[in-house]
Symmetry: C2
Subunit: 212 residues, 2 copies
């Protein structure tokens, strides 16, 4: 078929597969509403918020609905839950569908726009069961959140085979320089246990083969 | 209303606004199919591929359908176009809807999964009208592309007011260390002209206020 530049075959080649014009909607797993119904109206402190992020990660492993990562966005002062996310890379077929990316985009969906620091909105906090990878780290300043709270360390995710990517060595300082507060090691042991459970179940460590 | 923990009002507070369970589908603008119909079946070299990325950026400015950034994914050897993307942050209300993110996710949509380096797929190349921001830089290794080709420099985007984020100083070396080839300054002047046109039209430079 090569070289048939002016034939009808050429048009067929061009059209197959077609250039896609839209992405399928990213959706949270079916078990999420049930988990949310069991939650309190407010999450008063960092540990309560982190417990939800870890529960999301653990349920995602238990239901085989994605990678062992969970995240949630809260109003920083009131503790009201705004949005949640879990890793959906494999079920969605999209390599950027990390827990933090979904939680941030769903918080923007809940609050009406791309800027979570827009006038009139309360300060918001992203709580993640693991420290952000290089991509999610880069996404945080664009989202408008005022703070980041992390459970497991990047080293914990790497210990079970995940790759956290080429993040700057001084990533915490880089966020703080932009006015984003960072807290680490909140319920780290509990968060790390979810990573271990995923590894023990021999689930996919989705890093592109040959590009690591 | 505070403290009415067991009343119906408490439930109403918890439910308003509801926690969203899905993101709206990210879609390319309506003018994209028309632009694609005017394109050749194959893009033989870097400059031809970059011309498409720049045309996407320029049309996105002309149609006021997003920021001044365009990107496309090609089969590296054959030059076949696989997917395109443009910045959709404002119309989509999602801060991560950068041109590169859409192009990569749509390429994954076209080719059937999250890993563009999966066995059986040809090596793929991401061509972007501007160098990637910190987020898109971090997303590139997860996507499975084999190469990145850039038009305008990050400094060109910064010169008109955009913020490229906390990218590692040695970002090119970081990608190359992962087996991802990087080419810069391909049609840089033409790519920079699109950024200037956007700035001249006084369009939004969408960086969260107070978090820069």
């Amino acid at each position: 078929m090569r070289g048939a530049a002016a034939s009808p075959t050429s048009c067929a080649m061009r059209a197959r597969p077609p250039i896609p014009l839209a992405l399928p909607s990213l959706r949270l797993p079916r078990w999420v509403p049930g988990l949310l119904r069991r939650q309190p109206a407010r999450f008063p402190g960092r540990e309560a918020r982190m417990r939800l992020a870890i529960a999301l990660a653990a349920e995602n492993v238990a239901h085989a609905s994605g990678g062992p990562f969970g995240a949630a966005v809260f109003e920083r002062a009131s503790g009201r839950l705004v949005a949640v996310g879990v890793n959906r890379v494999e079920p969605a077929g999209q390599s950027h569908a990390h827990a933090e990316m979904l939680a941030l985009a769903l918080a923007q969906r809940a609050l009406g726009g791309w800027n979570l620091a827009a006038p009139g909105l309360p300060a918001l906090e992203l709580v993640s069961s693991s420290e952000p990878c290089a991509m999610c780290f880069g996404a945080i300043p664009w989202s408008g959140v005022a703070a980041l709270v992390c459970g497991a360390r990047a080293a914990d995710a790497e210990a079970v085979g995940f790759d956290e990517g080429p993040k700057p060595a001084r990533w915490v300082a880089a966020l703080e320089a932009r006015g984003i507060a960072v807290a680490r090691d909140v319920l780290r042991a509990e968060a790390r246990a979810v990573l271990a459970a995923y590894a023990a179940a021999h689930r996919t460590i989705y890093v592109p083969a040959g590009r690591k």
